[in-house]
């Protein structure tokens, strides 16, 4: 009797425990899933905005074409300006003296000193020095670049590599200036050597803050092991991309005296980087992807060094026109990249140029066929049928590429025929993604290795990591919103018939997508961006409450500020190009001319006089020249609830 009741009490007790456990597990799984979804949403935001920016690059390219077509009008007023803008700064056959010879290394220099010819001890030396945040002297940077160019010139467009079970090869993807990731790879996988070959698949620079250091380690390793360290060009190995995405700034900041020389030499080095690597005649390794018209034979034989930049498509210039220009302008000024010997032979054909763009910019997708890559503005989206077709045509088995950030550091698609490998962990934000590398050997299946750089010794719990990522993503999204504030408000008001200040969630989402075109899940993101009342209606002005653009001059109109803020990266690139001697200054006249052209091409509805006025107020030295970096830095977004936002109190 007693037994019976006590065992049923026990049963009831364990049943309650079971149900309690079920409740907790159920709740936790739901919570954890929602965290992971938020992480994905944040990643989507980062990616959308990144690609939208790349699309902006294409607009800029069109602008340069536009400028060229229209400059005859401009040059009538200011021929000198034009020649400065389009001046031919080619220095193809300068010798070592011109680069390195004039640079001295002082005795007081405490950084690493390389010994030429380079050996593996120099690799170690550099790594140890960079771990301690030392900066390599410009003299050595220039030496390395010069030597690298010499050796690269002898390499074919595609390097053919053979592996064996005892000599496997490691493929790494985008590094984007993240030194910690490169060091982690070398730590886990060993330094490059004759028995430990590597392929680095492009995008070594931009965005991260150690692009110089990565380049130096890779180039020095290449010089020591030219047959075992393979470098493929990525879309960021492009001097114009560098102007927008941070590498130019990094160089000029670290090398105040010799930065310009380094950048000029680098321009050339980039063009000599091989296009791809082919392993065991089976695996094609290129940075971006392919298109339905990819012609490997043509790519093998073209003169790859004529590919200067994605923003410099070949100009349809004819001999008479060139001569005409020469007469008008009085100098031999023509767009950069085009020699004044006037012949088309100095450029790639349009077809060749497009072939390279496809290799550097395309992305694989699940949809069959080949479509223009609209989010990036260059290259295409290629489907599994395209992959099969091209791989079969050249008797290849697999395509390894990079170019896209993946949460796990790598991703396999197209039935196992396409592998994406991305080696910059935490690319968008701490916790956003892992990095990975691949080891390949003939006769073995590819092995994938993942990692993630962490600052702390023990990693944060998931909810903290997600919070960091999410706030960062929402922050840049809000900056996007504020830069289109006028257009957004107009779109909202069109739908808000009774001027209530409110819209339904569906109406709000529709306008957001219409104006911003980012293809984001607006309904799911709405709680972060707007306030909603108990009826579920959106107070559309609430997005703009805690964020605003700092007005550099109090009286300037909001629409002007917004427009300049929105285009500030483009303007930065344009100014950088005008400022060919990298002085940081341009004249008021140049500024005005530039602005007028920009205004008309981008159909910006701002009065010339307003911009003039603003520039004049910002001519802080009052000497007729504008420090354009100061000009552009004056536009930044203030987040009301920031504890530490940039406060440039030097501008008063």
């Amino acid at each position: 009797m007693g037994c019976g009741t006590s065992s049923s009490a026990k049963d009831r007790k364990s049943e309650r425990a079971l149900r309690a456990a079920l409740i907790i597990q159920n709740w936790y799984r739901g919570y954890s899933a929602r965290l992971k979804a938020r992480q994905r949403y944040a990643l989507t935001i980062f990616q959308s905005i990144e690609y939208a920016d790349e699309q902006g690059q294409l607009q800029l390219s069109n602008f340069f074409s536009f400028m060229f077509e229209n400059y005859t009008h401009v040059c009538e007023k200011d021929p000198e300006f034009v020649s400065r803008l389009f001046g031919n700064t080619h220095q193809d056959d300068k010798d070592r003296q011109d680069y390195v010879g004039l640079v001295d290394v002082p005795d007081s220099y405490n950084g690493p000193r390389l010994q030429f010819p380079l050996t593996f001890t120099d690799i170690d030396l550099l790594i140890e020095a960079f771990k301690q945040q030392q900066i390599l002297h410009a003299y050595y940077v220039l030496e390395v670049l010069f030597e690298t160019k010499k050796v690269l010139k002898q390499m074919p467009n595609f390097t053919h590599v053979k592996t064996s079970p005892s000599k496997q090869i490691t493929i790494c993807g985008d590094l984007h200036g993240k030194l910690d990731d490169l060091l982690l790879i070398f730590y886990k996988n060993g330094l490059p050597s004759g028995s430990n070959p590597y392929v680095f698949n492009g995008d070594f620079v931009d965005r991260g803050k150690n692009s110089v250091e990565i380049l130096m380690i890779l180039f020095v390793s290449f010089l020591v092991y030219p047959n075992d360290l393979h470098l493929n060009r990525g879309n960021h190995e492009d001097f114009m991309m560098n102007m927008r995405y941070g590498f130019t700034k990094e160089v000029l900041h670290k090398y105040k005296l010799h930065g310009r020389k380094i950048l000029q030499l680098l321009e050339d080095v980039y063009t000599w980087l091989p296009i791809g690597t082919i392993i065991d005649n089976e695996v094609l390794v290129i940075h971006g992807g392919i298109s339905e018209s990819t012609d490997l034979n043509l790519l093998h034989h073209m003169e790859r060094n004529k590919m200067k930049s994605v923003l410099m498509p070949p100009f349809p210039i004819d001999e008479d026109y060139a001569a005409d220009l020469k007469n008008k302008v009085g100098t031999t000024a023509v767009p950069r990249g085009v020699r004044t010997s006037g012949s088309l032979s100095e450029q790639l054909t349009k077809h060749e140029w497009e072939q390279v763009i496809d290799i550097l910019w395309s992305d694989p997708r699940g949809k069959r066929g080949c479509y223009p890559n609209t989010s990036r503005g260059g290259g295409c989206y290629f489907g599994p049928d395209i992959t099969s077709k091209i791989l079969n045509r050249y008797q290849l088995k697999m395509l390894v590429r990079s170019h896209e950030c993946k949460p796990e550091g790598y991703e396999i698609c197209h039935d196992g025929k396409v592998v994406t490998v991305f080696s910059a962990s935490n690319y968008y934000e701490e916790g956003s993604n892992r990095g990975a590398y691949i080891r390949l050997g003939s006769g073995m299946t590819p092995q994938f290795f993942q990692y993630q750089v962490t600052r702390a010794t023990c990693s944060r719990p998931l909810y903290q990591r997600v919070n960091i990522m999410e706030s960062s993503a929402i922050r840049i999204l809000k900056e996007r919103l504020i830069s289109r504030k006028t257009d957004l408000i107009r779109a909202f008001q069109l739908q808000d018939r009774n001027k209530s200040g409110k819209l339904s969630l569906g109406q709000w989402a529709f306008s957001m997508e219409n104006v911003l075109g980012l293809n984001l899940p607006w309904r799911s993101l709405s709680s972060h961006l707007v306030t909603t009342d108990k009826d579920g209606n959106v107070d559309y002005m609430s997005s703009f409450q805690d964020v605003h653009i700092q007005k550099p001059v109090k009286e300037a109109q909001s629409t002007l500020i917004e427009t300049l803020y929105r285009h500030r990266t483009d303007l930065q690139i344009i100014f950088n190009i005008i400022d060919s001697d990298h002085s940081g200054l341009i004249s008021m006249e140049e500024f005005r001319t530039m602005w007028k052209l920009f205004n008309s091409h981008y159909s910006v509805h701002i009065d010339d006089s307003q911009v003039d006025e603003l520039a004049e107020r910002m001519d802080l030295n009052k000497d007729g020249s504008i420090d354009f970096n100061e000009f552009l830095n004056a536009f930044y977004v203030v987040h009301k609830f920031d504890k530490l936002h940039k406060s440039d109190s030097t501008l008063a």
Partner: protein
């Protein structure tokens, strides 16, 4: 199917949550809004942009839409949306109608905070206010629908107080609830 839309939900106080704005809408509008929400959640996991997601992510998608099915219920749902010959991928065309019905019928409601707290208290009959690390691990990995090792580590990393090596569940719950709101 809007015809079978049960209007009695309007009286339910729990309804005033994520979908409260639909309380006064016509059923057609409610369904259209559900469709858009489901599409958004699905697309974020559709990496190749071809209207399919990996079956292993379906649980995350369903839960991100506010539902809390148990593992068993999730298995049943997956069976409903899978192909006849499972491919490892779920197509949007199959997922949408099933998920819409789940939302319309308000299935798999989330656990309210107070129920969650009581569940922890059941496991802590001595009313100490905390569970030891070993106790939590034992319950979570041996009872109910057991956690995988990864799930256990993940929960511990946020829940555990490193000094006492225990889980002060009331604080933990409060922290998680704040984080979500």
């Amino acid at each position: 199917n809007p015809q079978s839309f049960n209007v009695s939900y309007k009286k339910d106080p729990e309804w005033h949550g994520a979908y409260s704005h639909l309380a006064r809408s016509l059923p057609e509008i409610a369904v259209a809004e559900f469709h858009k929400k489901i599409k958004e959640a699905f697309e974020v996991f559709d990496h190749e942009s071809n209207n399919t997601v990996d079956v292993r992510e379906i649980g995350t998608i369903i839960r991100s839409l506010g539902c809390c099915p148990s593992e068993g219920e999730l298995h049943d749902l997956i069976a409903e949306v899978e192909e006849e010959e499972p491919t490892g991928y779920i197509r949007y065309e199959k997922f949408l109608p099933v998920m819409t019905q789940v939302l319309l019928e308000r299935r798999y409601r989330p656990i309210p905070e107070d129920i969650l707290l009581r569940a922890f208290e059941v496991l802590d009959p001595a009313k100490r206010g905390f569970l030891s690390k070993e106790e939590l691990i034992k319950y979570m990995t041996e009872e109910g629908e057991p956690f995988s090792q990864e799930e256990m580590e993940e929960m511990l990393s946020a829940a555990i107080d490193p000094e006492s090596n225990s889980i002060h569940y009331k604080d933990y719950i409060t922290m998680m609830v704040i984080d979500e709101n």
